[in-house]
Structures are given as C-alpha cells and as structure tokens.
Symmetry: D3
Subunit: 234 residues, 6 copies
C-alpha cells in the first residue's frame, strides 16, 4: 500500500443518490440481489437518521486519524466519509472537531470501521455516524494511509464514488455504475411491497399471498395436531 | 429433526400471563428460583416496552425465514413469536411485512435468536422485538424447520405455550405448568421488595435490613481504617 | 486477596471533581497524556448523562453482589460506586433496590464491570449506570471480596478516591494526586479547541490549522488526480 | 431451581454407547436429522481423542465447583461429566485433583460449559476434556446447584443418561430413548459414505454422484466461460 | 448477486506461486506494502503446513455448501479452494468427503470463512485447511451462490486466480498481476533479513542495526535510571 | 503518558523465581489468595512450556512495535518481556527477528497483549510466547510508548520486576515484594495436594476428604432417588 490521495472521483447523480436513500438499506440490499450489505457490527451512534451519499474512502492505520484530515479537503457537499483501517481498531478517530469540519464542507455523515467520540456533540450537531464502537481513545497523526482508493469495510468492497446508504438497519453500498439499475429495481420492489403490506394488514397470510402451501408440502412439511403425536423430542 | 408444524398448543390463562408480565423479567426470574432467564445478548430493538404472552416456537435454518410464515398462521391473539435457529445466525429474518402480518393476527411481539430489519418501521408500528442483532441481510425460503416443538433460545429450553416475559432487562421464560406458582411467588416477592425499597430510600442500610453483619464477620471480612494498614497491594 | 473493607479514603476536592466532570471523558483522557480510559465495552445504560465523583472501589466474586452492600455503607455524598469482579461476569449485580439505597446516601452513579438490571427503574430514578452488560441474572451473598482496595476495571488500575468521569463516550479515571494538574491541562485544551472549532466551522481545513501539508509530503504522501493513474489495486 | 441431586439415572446399553462413539460427532449429528450438536465454542483441551458415555449432568454456579464434587459420587464407570453453569463463566472449575477422582471412578471424560485448568496434567493422565475455555481461575464451594437434572449446555438440552459423543469435531448429544435408532441410521450412513468416498477418490465428481446438474440448472445457475462476460462486479 | 459459475480463470505461473509459498505469509504481506493479509480469526485446523496456490473462489449461503460441489469441478491441480459466505456462518461446510474429492483433483488446500468438520480425517489425509471455526453442523444444498467471482474473505478482496499463501501465521492474498513484483520484493527482503538475523543472534541490538537512537531522542523518549524518578504513575 | 524508559529495575532472587516457576500458574494463583491471574484470552503459541522470570514491561501503541526494540536493550538474562498496548490490538508486533535478539540477551519468553507472527520459527527456536492472537500484520516504528513503568495486561496490574509465571494454563503475576511469601504458601499447598491426590486416586471421594456432607446438607441440598420424584423441570 503506497500512501496516495486521489483528488478526483466520479459520483452518481444527486437525484439517483437521493432516491436510493429514500429506499433505505434493506430495500437497496435486496434490490441488488442481496448484495452490498456491511456486517451488522456497524451501528448508528444515534437512531432515527437515514443518509445517502458518495463515498470518500479513507484507509487509516490503527490509532491514527491523520488521513481523515487529508480526506476532508477532498470532500464535496453530499459526500459521506467512509473510513477503513488496516486492522481491527476501536479507537476514537473522529469527534466534534472533525465533525465540525466535515459539516462545514457539506459532508452528510460518517461510516467508520473504527471508534468515534464526542457522541453527545455529534447528536447536538445532527451529524450522523455509523461506527464499530464508541471510544474516547485518542489517536495520533504519525503514519500515512490512503484516500480514495478501493477499501474493504465490514465485509464489503467499496470504490470511491460508490453510493453509501445508511439508516437504523445498518449500512449498504451500491456500486456507482449499478446505481440506476438498483434504483429502478428497488422502486419496483417497494411498490410491490406496498400491495402486500395492505393484504397482510387485512389478515391475509403470507402462506397464501406467496402461494407457499404446495411448495411446503412437496418439501416435506408435516402438520400434526398436537405435540403428543411426535415420537421423541423432535 | 423432521420438519413438523404442530397446530394446537396449550396456553396459560390470559389473566396469569398478564400478571406475570406486570412482574417483569427480573422478578419472574427470581421467583422461579433464578431460572428461566435467556442470555443477555438478546436485547430490545427499542426501549421502554414490556410484554408477556404464550410462546409460538419456530425452529429456522440459517439465512432462511420460511418457517416464520408457517408459524404466523398458527398464532392466536396474545401469542409471542419465539424464533430459534439451528446455528448462530444474525440475518434479518423478520421485518415490516412479517410484523404487519403478525400484528394483524394479534401477536404481541417477537423474540428471536437471529437478526431483524426495518427497525424504524417496527418502532412506528409499536411492534416490540428482542433479537440477537439488527441486520438487513435478506433471507430465503428454501429449507424446512419446525413450528411448535421444544427449542433452545439463548440458553433456555422452551416448550410451545410456555410464557415469555420480555422488557428492558431482557427475556425470561416461565414453564406453563409452573405459571401460577411463579406468579404467586413473584407477587409475594414484590410486596416484600416494596417494604425494603421504602426503608432503603430512608437511608437504612441493606447490611441492617438483611442482617448481614454477623455473617460477614464470621465469613472473615476484616474492616481496617485506611489502606495504609494493608501490607502489599491486596 | 484477603477479604478487607477499608473505611476511610482520601478524596479530591469537590470543586476539582465537578470541573473535571465538566471537561468530559474525551478531554480528561487527552489531558492526562491519553491515559486513564476504560475499555469501550463499558457503556451507559441510558444516554445523556455526565457524572464525576470519587471512586468507592468494590471487588466482587462472579454471581455474588455481597460486597456492594458492604460498600454502600462506606459511601459519602458525591461518590461513585466502581465495581470490579475477579473474573468476567455479566450477572445483574445491581438493580432498583441497591440504586435506591445508593441514592439515599448521595452516590452519583455506578460503573460496573458486570451486569445490571431494573434498567427502566434506573432511568426513572435518574441513577446513571455504566456497565458491561444488562442482565436480570440474580446473584447470591455467599463469598467475600473487598472494598476500597486498588482494582482493575476495563483495563484501568484504579485506587479508591481516584476521580471517575463518565459520559456518553465511556468512562475515564484520574489519579487523585494528579487531579489538579489534569484539570488545568484540560481547561487549557478546551480553550484551544474552541478556537479551532470556530475556524473549522468557517471552512478552514485541519490540514492548514495544524500545518500538516509539509509533514505529509515529507512522510511520502503522493497526490494523484484520478484512480486510473494507479497501477494495480492500491 | 431447588438444589437437588438425583442418585439414580437410566443409561443406554454400553454396546450402543460404544458404537455411537465409533461413529463420531459428525455422523451422530447427521444421523439424528442434524440435531444434537453443541455450539462450536466447546473445544477439546488436547486433540486426538474420541469418547462416548452416559451424561451425569451438573448445574453449577459461576465461580463455584461445589456440585462437581457431589456429582462424582454419583458417577459409574463409563459416564461422562457434563457441566452446565447458570451464567457464562470461564473459571477453572476442574483440574488435576478432580480428574484424578473422576478417573478413579471410571469416568471417561468431561464436557464443561466453563473453564478447566492443569491442562498439562490432564494430557499426562489422558483424561479428555472439552471446555469453553482454559483458565486457572480458582473456584469456591459456597453455593448449591444440582446434579442429574436436565440442563442446557452450548445450546443443547440434555437429560441425565443421554449419550454424549465428543471428538476433535466437537460434542454431540443423543437422547437416550433414540440411541438405537440413531445408531442404526448412523451405521447405514457410514456404509453409504464409504462407497462415495471411494468414487470421489477416483476422481468422480460429487456433481455426478449426487446427480446435481439438473437441479442446479433448474435453480438458475448459469455457467459462463470467463469473468469478462459478467456485467458489473457480481 | 446472480448465481453464476465462471469456468476459466487466469492463473499465475506455477514457479511464481511456489516461490511465493516459500516466502510465507508474513514476508508476502510485508512485501506488498503490508497489504493482503486476511484477519487473524482464520486459523489452521492443524499446524505445520505452508501452501500456495491459485484461488478458486466460492460464494456460499449460510448453512449451504452446494456451491463447493460446483467449484470442485472447476479446480485444477495446484488450486486452493477459497470459500466466502454471504453472512457470518460457522457451519461445517467441508469434511472428509469433499476433501477426498478435492485431493483427487489436485487441490492443495482450503481456506474458508465458515466451519469445517472431520478434522481428524483432514489431518490423516494431510489436506490442510484454514477456517473460521471447527463445527460438525451439517449443511444443505438448496440455495445457489457463485463460483469464480470476486469475493471478500476475512477483510480481503480476492479475485479468482489471485495467489493464496497460508501457513501457521494465517492467510495472505497476492493479486495475480502483482505476483512477480511481490516475489522479487519478498526475496530481497528475505536476504536482507538473513543478514540482520545473524547480527541480532550475535547480540547486536536492533536499536543499533536500525539506527534508531537519534529518532527516538528527537521523538522525545526520555531515559531515567529508576522508576522512583517518575512523578505519579505515568 | 510521557514517553519514558526506565533503565534499572529491582528483581526477585533467581532461586525464588525458579521455584515459583516450578509451582506453575494454577498453584501460584491460588497461593496468593486467588489473585494475579491474567484473563484466559492470553494463550501459549505452542504448548508444553513453563517459564518464570522478571517482567520487563513495555507499553506500546496500536500497530507500532518501536518500544519493544527499546525494551530489549534493558533486558537481562532471566527476564520476560511483558507487552501492553494502549488499546486492544492484534497486530504481529513480534516475530523471528525480535525473538532472535531477545534470545541472544537471555530473555526467557514473551507475554503480549497483542499479536505475534513467525510462529513456526518461534517453535523452532524454542522461544515461548503467550499472546492475544497470532497475526502477520506488520507494524511501524512511529509513536513512542514506555518501558518499565507499571502496566495493565489482560486485567492484571504489573510492576516492572514482578515475577511472571506462564504455562499451558495461562499467565500469572506475583508482586516482587510478595514473592517469598507466595512461594512458601505454594510449596505448602503442593505438599497438601500430593496427599489428597493419592487418596482421590484410591477412590476416596472429595466429599469425604473435604468433609463436605454436613455443609451440603445445612445449605439445603436434597438427594432424591430418581428424577421422577421432581415436580416440573427443575
């Protein structure tokens, strides 16, 4: 890994990004074939926010947040800082000062595979963060990493400029060149779900809406009236 | 494990269930001899709810929520869905559509040894959930499991129809045939605690309320005036 | 470990303690040279509280909260109960009764390397707690430990009378004899940060405020215009 | 949980137990419909052993090994000590002295949801152990538990007298009343596998032995010649 | 994720692969700029083996090993099976039958982000495996995944045909197009280390070999003669 | 934390150290009142070694092994390197080169709260190591820490010159000024155990050797002949 910062990246259109955000994490993940979901240890620092934006990727070293400073200069309004680390690290790489700076540049939020601190301030500023941990552990500025190279965060491979969607369910990534296709698929899925939701609310069973009874029977599911009919435990 | 769904289970009386719910998890656990508590990794998806109901047990396969659809048909108003899995799995087996369906059938909530998603919707619908994790990971409907057989969830063995109590402290199970005995014991305990609570609020020490001083002394506790009297660290 | 309870400990001045509390965990940790921070698995049971006080240290045995009863008698108004355990244990050693008793004696809160229960009551009473876990698991009163000896909690060594600061970012300890020095250093740091915060809010970059560009270059950071200029993945 | 020790339990026949042991953990688990496998955090303290025997169940309290002493008196030659705990605990509840005692009574080994110590001695004595952890943490004898009641260990519900099989793959339980059925099914499975193993060793593909190609195609698997034919990442 | 199997992949030359294997994981990781190391939870099932080969990548579903059967047909002598999963899963997806089949096709070993079983047989067959866990948990063949697409395993992004190196230190990946460059850098590093190793064995200090004393001093390291000279703890 | 290296420390006598080592970790831990045991996540990199020596303490930064180089110069024959880190970190801070250097200076082994690499070489050199993890992750030499100050490792507070004992059961620390007292207590305990071991091997029960029957009865243990006598599950 040579220490490099890439100045310019391509981004999806703001319209596409905003609409992907409206779909939310679960729908976006489903709409691209159940792909792109980061592992569930990434959790929102405070609940009730949903954001979408273009990934400015940062590769940091453990206990060192130097490259986040480098990254902020390369952010544009609408971007999301996406911080990877070369090893598992929970240190508090980001706090109220960096959030103030990021907000001043129009950054929509932070997704980090490390820790964050000053979380009461982040809530007050309404700067949403998804992180591996909350920790005040201070960091240094001694070892270089990279900005805007492909990184792996929480099990997903992300290119700079990919679209990040984050909400209370977690974080998903959409590859930039698939953004429009995923959006269309997601919007179709959403309409489809609205119809199902109404039926389910009316008490129609999923077994019937999805026509599962035949497939369950041919897979071998047996119904018995009471547990007493069963030999043994199960 | 043969794939089986049991249609009919016995339930405790609604009155007993409601009153067990009023006791809450900690009291219920204590009142049955410190038994029946599920491991603390099961956490509420949103705080501030307390529910009690009869367990409809579901045994799922990892990454597969097929049997939850089967289970919902077998639920009655006042039931709680209790989802086990044949292995550790964090996938999002339950979301807003299943919650809509469960709610339409009068289900009071979900306790699951897997993940859930659409958690903002669950909060909006006020459908309380206790889960191992929050994850959008989509699931399939390809492999059978069971409904209403005995299962192990978070370290507890649960029969269908056992009473589930869940609140901010976690989740406990009460065996159906012990429900009334546990309720009586719990109500006695609660009265007893109310008295102690008042004394403690007035500044009386637990040492005196529980008459511990003699037992502490005979067990060998030594009081010293200052740390300097101690040789070495401890 | 001989079972011992130390009656009298020295405390820092209330003024110093209160002011350290106003600094908060992150600043306190930084101001003593990035020392004194407990591991981030200690989390607040409910958010939005910041406390500071003198540590009454308790060494418990797994599944046994006997020594907490002993400790409460030795607390003074303004103290914080700091509970260690001789092994990793998540049991619910502290609940609404002990909180009632602690509150009656003026204790400001609890930091425990174990579990707690009755968390809805703790919120209602506004008795703040930082813990390893939330668990209703009941405990016994059978095996002695110690009160007011040095203990290790979440990776930090704490003497009775050391100052504990806890907020949404976690928990930090300040050695009693360093309290004034840390306070001065922290207040200086805070002023310094206020100035930076304003500049950052105005859009000035950290790169410029901290004068990092030269050091980045001499460390070898290379800027390229686009990712295409890079050979290979990274 | 009332503290109780049950003197007499029923056991499967030694012949059945020995033959289940020869099948090993993986085959036993498969032969009862993929049931009965304990979670994989239970690991052998030293490799290369395979044992089977009747479970003497012990329910301990955290940090307290008193009930193991009670249990040893109730063991017969051919039994396996199976230790549960009322909470997660890694303490070293069992070491060379208890192993000496257990061996003198013909116990074949130990499976424990806690820690063990003196592991070099256990190897020298050839007393096989599967445990949650290795820890020298000493334990007390202060709080009662139970012997020979049903327990949950590592996610499985076990009755006293059930058959425990343990080897390098982990630990499985067979319900006593299903032992002969599982044995027959396992022996059939093993013969069947021998045949397949030979074919696979000769280079015949599983795809062909199990006749999977049609099912893969109808499930929608597409073969492409090179990755370049794929649009996007996946 | 569309279910796809890619028949043909490009591989590095056998000579390069063999020589990368001789360097071992630590040297390969260092030689590509401290890149390409998989997370340390991947551990060898038995110690003392070092392998290198071309990655045949497999993306599986939790609890389902169907795609491994598909992958084996696409393996060539010298390949290594590299198994990813769409979620965290410890099930025993690979055992002695699959190992027999893989060995018959010249596969050198397995690296899997899941569990394996029959580990005594794997040792007997000398088929080396690095895995997330050891578990007998049986798997089904019901849900499709992919073969020979890019995957993420243990935090690394791997293309089919990339070179996998695995030994007692863990697992590293080398991108195919960088293989020769990494090999040269690694061989240079190894020579360099041989010289240092000799000096260190002769008692020369790293401080002097690497000429660190000046840099330590200018970074601010202070030497004191005894701990008593220090004010406070540190 | 000011970056400091302390040149001279006091050590216990070699005779005491050697004899403490002969007692082993479990006995040493018991003999000082069940104190001084490090958490069980510290595991030997290869089995079958037992060492004892004086602690040279090192406080490192995550991903940075600079201070280990500083520490080696301050080691004397018979010392053990004890490495702490300011945060949880699994990186491979120590490998064959540092082991060669340490061995040349007579160091007996390493205990580290981080990762190590080149583990096959460590085994070949017979340089025993206890660590948090095995990882090849390379480290830098950019940020200062300390040598020979008090540190916390795996839950224990250790002063430079304290005695470290490590074997297959884990790692224990004995405070230097308590070394002789712990040794005497441990030797007495060992003699005592030898006698018990013989009785247990002859089939005498622990219940009788320790005279437990009366205390079990008065604590309330009830014996029943069969499980059928029990009402309910437990």
């Amino acid at each position: 890994m040579k220490p490099i910062a890439v100045r310019n990246i391509e981004r999806a259109s703001e319209e596409t990004i905003v609409k992907l955000g409206q779909l939310g994490v679960a729908t976006v993940h489903e709409s691209q074939g159940r792909d792109g979901l980061m592992q569930p240890y990434l959790r929102p620092v405070f609940p009730g926010r949903r954001i979408a934006g273009s990934a400015i990727t940062v590769l940091t070293q453990p206990g060192d947040n130097w490259m986040i400073h480098v990254a902020i200069e390369l952010c544009q309004p609408g971007d999301i800082l996406l911080v990877a680390c070369t090893t598992e690290n929970t240190d508090g790489m980001f706090g109220d000062l960096l959030a103030t700076s990021a907000k001043a540049r129009g950054v929509r939020g932070l997704v980090t595979d490390t820790g964050v601190r000053d979380v009461a301030d982040l809530l007050n500023m309404d700067f949403p963060v998804w992180s591996r941990s909350i920790s005040s552990k201070g960091t240094v500025k001694n070892t270089l990493g990279c900005v805007n190279i492909p990184v792996v965060v929480a099990g997903q491979y992300i290119n700079p400029g990919d679209i990040i969607v984050a909400d209370d369910d977690g974080v998903a990534v959409v590859q930039r060149h698939r953004a429009d296709e995923v959006l269309q698929s997601g919007q179709k899925r959403e309409k489809n779900e609205e119809d199902k939701r109404q039926k389910l609310a009316d008490g129609v069973l999923g077994l019937d809406i999805y026509d599962m009874r035949g497939r369950l029977a041919s897979a071998g599911l047996e119904y018995v009236d009471t547990l007493d009919e069963l030999p043994g435990r199960s």
